[in-house]
C-alpha cells in the first residue's frame, strides 16, 4: 500500500482531453446537424435572391449612365423647363432603389418564414 495518488479517468475523458482544444476567445461555430439541411436551403434561397437583387441594381445604376451617354440630346428635352437628363439621375434611381429594397426585404423574410 503506497501513498501515491493516481488520476482515475475514463478512457473517453482521456481521449477528449488529448484532442486539440481551441484556446483563447475563439470557439468554432456550432451548427446543429439537424438544422443543417434547413441552413443549406436558406443559404441557397438567399444567395439566389441576393444575386437577383444585385443584378437588377447593377443594371439600373450602370445602365442609366450608359443610356445618358448614348443619348446626349436628352439634355435638350425639357420637362417643366428642367432638362430631362438632369432629372434622370435623381428621379429614376431613388424611387427604383426604394422599391427594390423593400421588394428584396419581403422576399428574404418570406424565405425565412416558410
Amino acid at each position: 500500500m503506497t501513498g501515491r495518488r493516481v488520476t482515475v479517468t475514463s478512457p473517453q475523458t482521456r481521449l477528449a482531453h488529448a484532442r486539440r482544444r481551441y484556446r483563447g476567445r475563439w470557439r468554432p461555430t456550432t451548427l446543429d446537424p439537424a438544422e443543417a439541411p434547413r441552413a443549406v436551403a436558406l443559404y441557397r434561397v438567399q444567395l439566389r435572391g441576393a444575386a437577383l437583387a444585385l443584378g437588377l441594381l447593377l443594371t439600373l445604376i450602370f445602365g442609366l449612365p450608359l443610356l445618358l451617354a448614348m443619348w446626349p440630346q436628352l439634355v435638350d428635352v425639357r420637362v417643366l423647363g428642367i432638362p430631362l437628363a438632369w432629372l434622370a439621375p435623381v428621379l429614376i434611381p431613388f424611387p427604383a432603389m426604394v422599391a427594390l429594397g423593400f421588394w428584396h426585404l419581403r422576399r428574404a423574410e418570406r424565405a425565412e418564414d416558410e
Partner: protein, 591 residues
C-alpha cells in the same frame, strides 16, 4: 454671432442627448453596440444620420457647382450601397455575433493576425474619413463667422469625444437619429425657401447653364489657400480704398489668406487645371473625372467605389450590430435606403442654384461652402441670416453625427481589437483618438474633403467588401486568403493614391484609374482572396461557420424534441453536434 445661434444649440443638444446614454453602461457590448436593443426605425434613422456627413450635406452641392450635374451620381452610389448591404451583408453579419468588423473576421476565420490587420484597415479608413469632417467643420465656421480655422476643429473634437466617452453607442444612436431628422428639415426647408425666394429670373438661369466668364456684381473672393489663376485681358479688382486697378494678364499666384474683390463686369480669371462652372460639359449628367474625356468610365468608377465602399465602411457596419437580430438588421438597411432617398432629392437644387449665385467660390476652391453661402445671396436681410444659421447648424450636425460613429469604431479598433481592454480603456481610447484626429486636422486645411472621403470609400471597397462578401457566401475562404486579399487591396489603393499625389502625370483613362482605383483594385482584392484560398484548405468547421450565418434566430428548433433527433441520427445529441456530423450532412448539399 452665427456661431452662438447655430452651433451652440446643436452642440448642447448633442451633449444633453449624450447624457441620456450614460445610464446602465457596464460592458464593452453596452459601449460599442448599445446592448443590441435598437429598433429598425431608430437604427435606420441613426444609420442615415451618421452617413449624411459633410460630404453629403455640403459636398455634393459643391461638386455640382464645380464639376457639373454629373456629380449627382455620387448620392446614387451612396444609396445603392445599402441595397448591396441589404442583399449580401446585413443579416448574416449581425448573426455572427461580432462587435466590430475585425471581430467578425476572427469569428469566421479564427485568425488573430487577420483581426489585427482588419483593425489597422479600420484605423486607415477612420483617419481618411474623420480628418475631412473636422477640417470642414473648421472651414465652415470660419466662412460664416470669421473665427480662426482651429476653433471649429477644436469645438467639434471636444463635443464628439465628450458625448462618446460618456454615453458610448447608446448616446451616439440617439444623437444620430435626432440629427438625421434635424438635418433633413434643415436641408429641405431652406431648399424650398431658396427656390421661391430666388425668383423666376434666377430659376430660369439655373436650368440654362452658361459659362461663368464675367462677374455680374462686385465679388469678394477669400483665398484661404493659395491659388494659381490665369488672368484674361481686362480683369479689374477693387482696392480697399474704393478705387479700381487692372490686373496684368497672364499667370497670377494668389497667396493664401488674401482677399480679392473683383469689379462688376470684369472678366473671370481661370483657375489652373479646372473648368469654370457652366463650361461645356457642365450640363452633361455624367462625371468626367479630371476632364479626361471618358465620362462614362468616370461615372462607373465613382459608382463602383461609392457603392462597394458603403458596404465596407466599418462605422456603418457597426451600426448594424446594434440591431437585436439579423432580421432587424435587414429591415434597418431597407429603411435606410428610403430615408437617404428622401434626403438625396435635394442636393441638386443647391448645386444648380449655386452655379448661378455663387460660382466665384470655385476660384478659391471653396465650393464646399456653396450651401451655406447661398441664403445671403438671395436675401441680405434677417431672413438670409436666419437661413444661413439654419444651414450652418445642419452642416455642424452632419459633422458631429458622422464623427461620433467614426470615432467609436476607431476607439473600438484600438481598444477592443488591437489591445483588448475594458470599458475604461475604451473611454480613454475615444479621447485619445479625438485628440489625434484634431491634431491631424489642424494642418489639413488645404486637403480637399471630397478627395479624402472618396479615398476612404475606395479603401473600404477594396478591403472589407471582399472580406465580408466572401466570408459570408463562400465556404472555401481561408484565413491566409483573406489576409492576402485585404493586404493587396490596401497596398493597391494606397499605391494608386501615392502615384496620384506625387507620381508622374498620367492622362486619359489611366489617370481616371489612378484617381479612382476601385474598378481594378476591388476585382484584384477579390481575385487574390479566391486564388490564395483555393491553394489552401479551409478548416473542417468552415462550412458550418458559413451556414450558421444564414440561419435565422427565431425558428422552431428541431432540438425541442430531443428524442426524435437522437433517433433520426442514430447518435446521442452531443455526438451529433460535432462538426464532423455537420460535414457529413452538408457534404452532399453544398459543393
Amino acid at each position: 454671432m452665427i456661431v452662438a445661434f447655430a452651433v451652440a444649440p446643436v452642440v448642447l443638444v448633442t451633449l444633453l442627448i449624450g447624457l441620456r446614454g450614460v445610464a446602465a453602461m457596464r460592458t464593452t457590448s453596452d459601449f460599442l453596440v448599445a446592448s443590441r436593443r435598437v429598433s429598425p426605425l431608430l437604427n435606420s434613422a441613426a444609420v442615415s444620420g451618421e452617413y449624411l456627413s459633410a460630404a453629403s450635406f455640403l459636398g455634393v452641392a459643391g461638386l455640382v457647382v464645380k464639376d457639373g450635374v454629373g456629380s449627382l451620381w455620387y448620392p446614387v452610389g451612396f444609396t445603392a450601397g445599402y441595397i448591396a448591404m441589404l442583399a449580401l451583408v446585413a443579416a448574416p453579419m449581425r448573426r455572427s455575433g461580432a462587435l466590430t468588423v475585425p471581430d467578425f473576421a476572427e469569428a469566421r476565420l479564427a485568425s488573430p493576425s487577420l483581426r489585427r490587420l482588419a483593425a489597422v484597415v479600420v484605423l486607415v479608413i477612420g483617419a481618411l474619413y474623420l480628418v475631412p469632417q473636422f477640417r470642414t467643420a473648421g472651414l465652415v465656421l470660419s466662412v460664416v463667422s470669421g473665427t480662426p480655422y482651429w476653433v471649429g476643429v477644436a469645438i467639434s473634437g471636444a463635443a464628439v469625444s465628450a458625448t462618446l466617452a460618456l454615453g458610448g453607442m447608446r448616446a451616439a444612436t440617439y444623437v444620430q437619429a435626432f440629427q438625421f431628422v434635424f438635418k433633413l428639415l434643415l436641408f429641405i426647408i431652406p431648399a424650398i425657401w431658396l427656390l421661391v425666394q430666388a425668383g423666376p429670373g434666377v430659376r430660369d438661369e439655373a436650368v440654362h447653364p452658361v459659362e461663368f466668364t464675367r462677374f455680374d456684381h462686385d465679388t469678394e473672393v477669400v483665398f484661404r489657400v493659395g491659388a494659381t489663376l490665369d488672368v484674361p485681358e481686362g480683369a479689374r479688382v477693387v482696392e480697399p480704398d474704393g478705387g479700381t486697378r487692372p490686373v496684368p494678364p497672364g499667370e497670377w499666384q494668389v497667396p493664401a489668406g488674401s482677399t480679392v474683390v473683383f469689379e462688376d463686369g470684369s472678366p473671370v480669371p481661370q483657375l489652373r487645371g479646372e473648368a469654370a462652372p457652366g463650361a461645356a460639359g457642365w450640363e452633361r449628367p455624367l462625371l468626367d473625372l479630371h476632364d479626361e474625356g471618358y465620362p462614362l468610365l468616370g461615372t462607373w468608377a465613382v459608382l463602383i467605389a461609392t457603392m462597394l465602399g458603403t458596404m465596407g465602411l466599418p462605422h456603418v457596419i457597426m451600426r448594424f450590430h446594434t440591431s437585436p437580430d439579423g432580421r432587424a438588421a435587414r429591415r434597418t438597411a431597407a429603411l435606410t435606403v428610403a430615408l437617404l432617398s428622401v434626403f438625396y432629392l435635394f442636393p441638386g437644387i443647391y448645386g444648380v442654384l449655386g452655379r448661378v449665385l455663387v460660382p466665384h467660390l470655385y476660384l478659391s476652391g471653396a465650393t464646399d461652402s456653396a450651401v451655406v453661402a447661398l441664403p445671403a445671396q438671395v436675401d441680405d436681410g434677417s431672413a438670409g441670416t436666419l437661413f444661413t444659421g439654419l444651414l450652418t447648424a445642419g452642416a455642424f450636425a452632419a459633422f458631429l453625427a458622422t464623427s461620433l460613429g467614426l470615432l467609436l469604431v476607431v476607439a473600438g479598433a484600438i481598444s477592443h481589437d488591437l489591445v483588448p481592454g475594458g470599458l475604461r480603456q475604451l473611454r480613454v481610447a475615444v479621447v485619445g483618438a479625438a485628440v489625434t484626429v484634431v491634431l491631424l486636422a489642424l494642418p489639413a486645411a488645404r486637403f480637399d474633403a471630397g478627395t479624402l472621403v472618396t479615398w476612404g470609400f475606395t479603401v473600404a471597397a477594396s478591403t472589407f467588401c471582399p472580406l465580408l462578401v466572401l466570408g459570408i457566401w463562400w465556404r472555401r475562404l481561408t484565413a491566409p486568403g483573406a489576409i492576402a486579399g485585404v493586404a493587396v487591396g490596401l497596398v493597391a489603393t494606397a499605391g494608386a493614391f501615392l502615384l496620384t499625389v506625387s507620381g508622374p502625370p498620367a492622362d486619359g483613362w489611366l489617370a481616371i484609374l489612378l484617381v479612382q482605383p476601385a474598378p481594378w483594385s476591388v476585382p484584384l482584392a477579390f481575385a487574390t482572396m479566391i486564388v490564395v484560398s483555393l491553394f489552401g484548405r479551409p478548416p473542417p468547421w468552415s462550412t458550418a461557420a458559413m451556414l450558421r450565418l444564414h440561419l435565422h434566430e427565431h425558428r422552431t428548433s428541431p432540438f425541442a424534441d430531443r428524442s426524435a433527433v437522437a433517433r433520426d441520427l442514430g447518435h446521442s445529441s452531443w455526438t451529433a453536434r460535432r462538426s464532423s456530423a455537420v460535414r457529413r450532412i452538408t457534404r452532399r448539399l453544398v459543393r
